[in-house]
Chain length 356, copies 2
């Protein structure tokens, strides 16, 4: 099992201004190599506290590459629907060059109705734009002198620069949330999958179907599954709960605020399961989330037990991507928790390989 | 007078791969604070060796911000025509946050016909897209809850995040090349100007008209003029010429290759002077460029004399932005030259203030 960290800003300027948020995140990134965390990841979102400090994850990851010599730099994720493929392919080439070949690129369809509205993109174009965008970026990275006639973007005789440092290109990931097809698509195409925790039996089914389609397509190994968790550990359970509870509430508050359209009757053919999924994510409590293993909070012994249980329940956890500074978490608390986790939890879980 | 450095990649993957180019550039960026250089700048270009390693200058500057604590991070420039204003405003906010408020944003209209063709943008939309894009980004940075109905991009009720660290926003610059209006526009709006060297009498006229429109608009001071120069200095003049000559040729070779349409009969109402300007840039020789002061190459004494002459000829040079690793220049030669310039040339020119 491998452990990395994920920065998912979910504060507004009154709670923590962006310069403070990003500089604290860079400081925490500077601990990765020493402590054995293997990746740093961030999101693409806009306009609201839920993710909005990170409209281009590649801009942060490029800075982060200067604070770690070993960790992989992972977009979690970029959104083809809001990006021009010529631009995105070029930025990926730059990040791969600047980091000496440590970039990994997660793609997602986006799911916040307010972002679609502000960019003037119909929700029902989501899947089509994702498919076209991902495939165009893939081609632009893998080949020279590419032409493409798309529904949304077309171009002729393009050699994207910089050519990727990793050949033929950085590994790809796909964010899957709630549809069987996403897991099958990722496995078939040899991409890793990125997920947020859901009920363990559902996760187990999805991961199994991902691995099956991976193998059936003839890819070596069994693919890569990355799951995101909120993590806060302290030797004092009461302190852990007191510190993490309001911040976890803060995170879900910003999620609910950013996704309210889904729970107020919005429907889209491209998002058949989102109203139900958002209700599910809203309905959890601090205790139920810990109980389900979706949130790793407590003493190191508590967290070891949660991880063991979750690993077994989902049929094998490859890579955990830990949110360590969610909401208004003070940076020194996040640092202490990262150090304690590295010392008391990490060694209990054997390392497995990554790569997608 | 202030001195900074500019990274303008002009190599292809066979000459120097992008990971080597950018990592050498980051190493050179790490010298700035020690040596007294006050900014680092890079370009936005695509698809060819002339600038093509840098499709998004903000991605490099974000990494560069980790190698210098004092230098300003300047886009030179971003191109509104190839960027969505919601995306660009967000990236500027991120860079300003990550650098602790050291971002400065130069905007340009773009001028390479092959880029317009590959992005599917007509050359004759250049000015309209520049004007709309710059003003939308400006609004998005300065204000919250912005709506805009543009010819090219429209949106409603947007608060761009991150809010800029500098208030109301990072300083703006405009790249001006060959039209009187660009200089007047920049002065009137309180933006700095970025230029590449032309005949000194022409430069003097333009700079004077910029400063006049700056003052007439009631802005304090006299504005900021940044001029780009190729620089290589060595105690041995012969070594300086031998090292710099093939690399300067390499730079102009990549320029000519990227702009050939302009010298082969292309016309655009938005670029009335470009065919002539490109002929001019093509026609120079190594010796004539040094003679004109457009290129700072020679011993420290030679360079001091060139700078003194140019400063007087154009009526006062504010900020020089030095290309130190052009073409295949070895990084150790660039380092030696930067150190020698800092020791033997810089102190002879008094510091003046920046800020636009």
């Amino acid at each position: 099992m491998e452990f990395g960290i994920q920065f998912f800003p979910d504060v507004n300027p009154d709670e923590k201004p962006a310069d403070q948020y990003w500089q604290e995140s860079l400081f925490l990134t500077g601990l990765l190599d020493e402590l054995g965390y293997t990746h740093v990841r961030t999101v693409e979102h806009y306009f609201k506290s839920y993710g909005g400090y990170s409209p281009n994850p590649i801009v942060f990851l490029s800075a982060a590459a200067q604070r770690t010599r070993k960790a992989r730099l992972i977009t979690g994720a970029v959104l083809p629907i809001f990006n021009h493929p010529l631009k995105l392919a070029g930025e990926i080439g730059m990040l791969d060059a600047i980091s000496g070949g440590r970039a990994e690129i997660g793609f997602a369809r986006a799911f916040l109705p307010h972002e679609f509205a502000r960019f003037g993109r119909p929700l029902d174009e989501s899947r089509a734009r994702f498919d076209e965008g991902l495939n165009q970026v893939k081609q632009l990275l893998e080949r020279e002198d590419v032409s493409s006639e798309g529904k949304f973007h077309s171009y002729k005789n393009v050699t994207s620069l910089p050519r990727p440092t990793q050949k033929p290109r950085p590994p790809f990931w796909v964010a899957a949330s709630s549809s069987d097809e996403s897991f099958i698509y990722a496995g078939k195409n040899g991409y890793g999958i990125m997920i947020v925790p859901r009920a363990a039996d559902q996760m187990k089914k999805w991961i199994a179907s991902y691995r099956q389609s991976w193998r059936e397509a003839g890819h070596p190994g069994q693919g890569s599954v990355m799951i995101a968790f909120h993590m806060y550990t302290s030797n004092d359970r009461e302190e852990a709960y007191e510190t993490a509870r309001p911040r976890l509430d803060g995170y879900f508050h910003s999620l609910v605020e950013a996704t309210q359209e889904w729970t107020e009757g919005l429907q889209s053919k491209d998002y058949p399961n989102h109203p139900k999924m958002m209700q599910f994510l809203k309905s959890g409590t601090f205790e139920s989330r810990i109980q389900q293993g979706a949130t790793w909070i407590g003493t190191p012994a508590d967290v070891r037990e949660i991880v063991t249980r979750y690993d077994q329940a989902v049929g094998g956890l490859d890579i955990a991507s830990l949110q360590v500074n969610f909401s208004t978490m003070p940076v020194d608390a996040a640092e202490r928790s990262m150090r304690l986790f590295a010392r008391e939890v990490m060694p209990h879980f054997q390392k497995r390989a990554s790569a997608a």
